[in-house]
């Protein structure tokens, strides 16, 4: 395997859901890559297709249909793999951390047993004792005090933060090379969020796993990610290095997101929300999906769908007028 080949390559992914009102294009031609060991943040509003994209990587879109595109993991097309191989990748090479650790753990099974099961699911020959030792080791690794005692406890005896730690322990149990974290801090108290973010860093360093961090929280992305992918209406509208995207955004939607952010380090009189609301994915607007809300929108935006194109070194934007933003956006939008 060459160095240059990305770990994960999502190419022109499209996912549809059939509803009574028609076909919803939840993901509509999303493309991005994740290199080994890097943390990529995927940001966007609710319904922008972030989570569906993540579930597509695992081949587990509920009631949805892959309408096109390919997902390559280590050069293998995940869509073409037999079910059995896909299962061994799930939880093995690709693991996931869920948004809500309250519901993602089985309430009537001890935490320890759940981790042991996760281990034994992928290593059938692993002896019970060895799995137990490894599970306690993992709990200790994610900062669980008194891991051996915690091993025997049930999820309801854990606080939210501790549960998320247990989830992370379970996710890294089989040494994944890609971790997908779907809103890993959203269900937690703000103080616990910081701990979990630190822990994600630890887990990432421990396993050297690339991380796909799905969130609507730009602060989390700024804190953790190396690169960022901005999604809107099922498409990637901008992607690039975190610092570059946050300081020199080249898509009006990214600019809007950054401007709508409350900030502690500067005196801001009012927040600037993005006007309007995300388009209905039942009938997305023609051309650029952002044009009805875009201050720069012109006739061309209403008819021609802008492709994702390079606007700088490893910086891509899907805006016809990305270059104009260089003049419009002052570089004051710093972290």
């Amino acid at each position: 395997m060459t160095q240059s080949e990305p770990l994960l390559e999502v190419d022109d992914l499209a996912v549809e859901f059939r509803t009574d009102e028609g076909v919803v294009k939840a993901v509509d031609g999303a493309s991005f890559t994740v290199d080994r060991g890097e943390i990529v943040g995927v940001v966007g509003e609710s319904g922008s297709g972030k989570s569906v994209t993540a579930m597509s990587i695992l081949g587990l879109v509920k009631s949805g249909r892959r309408a096109g595109g390919t997902i390559r993991f280590r050069g293998r097309d995940l869509g073409a793999l037999p079910a059995k191989e896909l299962r061994s990748i799930r939880g093995g090479e690709i693991a996931m951390i869920f948004q809500d650790p309250m519901t993602a753990l089985n309430p009537v099974v001890t935490i320890g047993r759940q981790i042991v099961e996760a281990l034994r699911l992928h290593d059938k020959k692993l002896a019970k004792g060895a799995a137990r030792d490894r599970a306690i080791e993992l709990l200790a690794l994610v900062g669980m005090p008194d891991a051996a005692a915690r091993f025997r406890q049930y999820p309801h005896e854990f606080s939210g933060g501790m549960r998320q730690r247990a989830m992370i322990a379970m996710a890294i149990a089989n040494g994944p090379s890609l971790l997908i974290a779907d809103e890993p801090t959203t269900a937690l108290d703000v103080t616990i969020q910081a701990q979990v973010l630190d822990l994600l860093k630890v887990a990432q360093q421990e396993t050297q796993a690339a991380t796909l961090l799905i969130t609507h929280d730009l602060g989390v992305v700024a804190e953790l990610a190396d690169r960022v992918v901005v999604m809107y209406a099922g498409r990637v509208v901008e992607q690039g290095d975190v610092i570059t995207v946050f300081t020199e955004p080249r898509h009006p939607y990214t600019v809007g997101l950054l401007e709508s952010l409350p900030r502690l380090d500067r005196d801001v009189d009012e927040l600037h929300p993005i006007p309007g609301s995300p388009p209905s994915l039942l009938a997305p607007p023609p051309g650029c999906p952002f044009h009805p809300r875009c201050p720069l929108a012109r006739d061309r935006c209403r008819t021609e769908r802008p492709p994702l194109r390079a606007v700088g070194a490893a910086h891509h934007s899907a805006c016809h007028f990305a270059e104009e933003l260089a003049a419009v956006v002052p570089t004051e939008v710093t972290r």
Binding site: A95, F98, P107, S159, L197, D198
Partner: protein, 316 residues
């Protein structure tokens, strides 16, 4: 960035969190180790009627197992010189129409009746659990096919199903067990399917799938354990139904065949009005044995249901 946030990942904060969690669990240091099963067992033990039923069943079981030690006659020894004798010092419960000792037959019949009851209920519950879980988990046409079959079985009167099966396949104990199980499995299947449908949508099942679990794994590790409490309850109540079915079928001559004794075919010996009026030792003991056993099983079943799911108390 990380320096903007207070570093909370320190041991003392984590320790405080443990303390809070332990407090929330409510109680001493052992409260952390109380499994759902242990809690159910505790609730069961508080239920006096259920415990009484359980004790009676254990007693019957002991009698059945040690039948040769308890009976002072062979259950098969025919004595045509002493037929339909009333209870006496030698024949504690008298003798039947062939001069066999009723007490010995009663004690040996416990073996057959319990065996048939438990085996049929077990078979019904295993089949029902499998069918219900597969139907619930797979959905679609598999679900439709399996559950419509179950509905069909449920819409026949149980006893007719069993009579037809026993009649078609000929009376023998294995056929009896299969016939009774065939009538009982849909109840378990419906129940397990319901639990499966509820559990299927839970996030932890989705999480297990994401962790690479196959459907078989989900069934074994999540769905069947989640339904286990209710399966045990249905299984127990099925035992009562199966014992009754065995009695009815054997009474009708379609079940356990003489000379082997079962409570049902002992009643069969007591069909005439004369016997009923003047020889109560022939029908009262097996009748009481059936009634008491079935009642005890039902008490235990109710107790288990209340123990497994405290919110759902009361009769079924």
């Amino acid at each position: 960035m990380s320096d903007l946030r207070p570093s909370l990942d320190t041991p003392d904060v984590a320790a405080a969190e443990v303390a809070v969690a332990v407090d929330a669990a409510g109680g001493g240091p052992r409260s952390g180790r109380r499994s759902p099963r242990a809690m159910a067992a505790r609730r069961f033990r508080r239920n006096r009627v259920a415990v009484g039923g359980a004790i009676f069943l254990v007693l019957i079981l002991v009698v059945a197992v040690f039948a040769p030690l308890i009976a002072n006659h062979s259950p098969y020894a025919v004595d045509l010189g002493a037929i339909r004798q009333p209870p006496s010092g030698d024949h504690w419960l008298g003798t039947d129409a062939s001069g066999r000792d009723v007490f010995a037959r009663l004690v040996y019949a416990a073996r057959v009746s319990l065996l048939v009851g438990v085996a049929a209920a077990l078979l019904a519950v295993v089949v029902g659990t499998l069918v219900g879980a597969v139907a619930g988990l797979f959905g679609g046409w598999i679900d439709t096919l399996l559950m419509r079959t179950a509905d069909m079985m449920l819409s026949f009167p149980n006893i007719v199903v069993v009579i037809v099966l026993a009649g078609l396949l000929g009376p023998s104990i294995p056929i009896l067990v299969i016939a009774i199980a065939a009538a009982e499995w849909p109840t378990a299947a419906r129940l397990v399917r319901g639990v499966t449908l509820a559990v299927r949508e839970r996030e932890y099942l989705h999480a297990a799938r994401v962790a690479g679990a196959s459907r078989g794994w989900l069934l074994r590790k999540h769905i069947v354990p989640a339904a286990m409490g209710q399966i045990v309850v249905v299984g127990t109540i099925s035992v009562a139904g199966a014992i009754l079915s065995e009695a009815v079928l054997s009474f009708l001559g379609l079940g356990v065949q003489p000379p082997q004794a079962s409570w049902g075919n002992m009643l069969n010996d007591a069909q005439s009005l004369t016997v009923i009026q003047s020889m109560p030792w022939l029908w009262l003991p097996p009748g009481l044995a059936i009634a008491a056993t079935v009642l005890s099983v039902n008490f235990v079943g109710d107790g288990l249901r209340d123990a497994v799911d405290p919110r759902q108390s009361g009769r079924s």
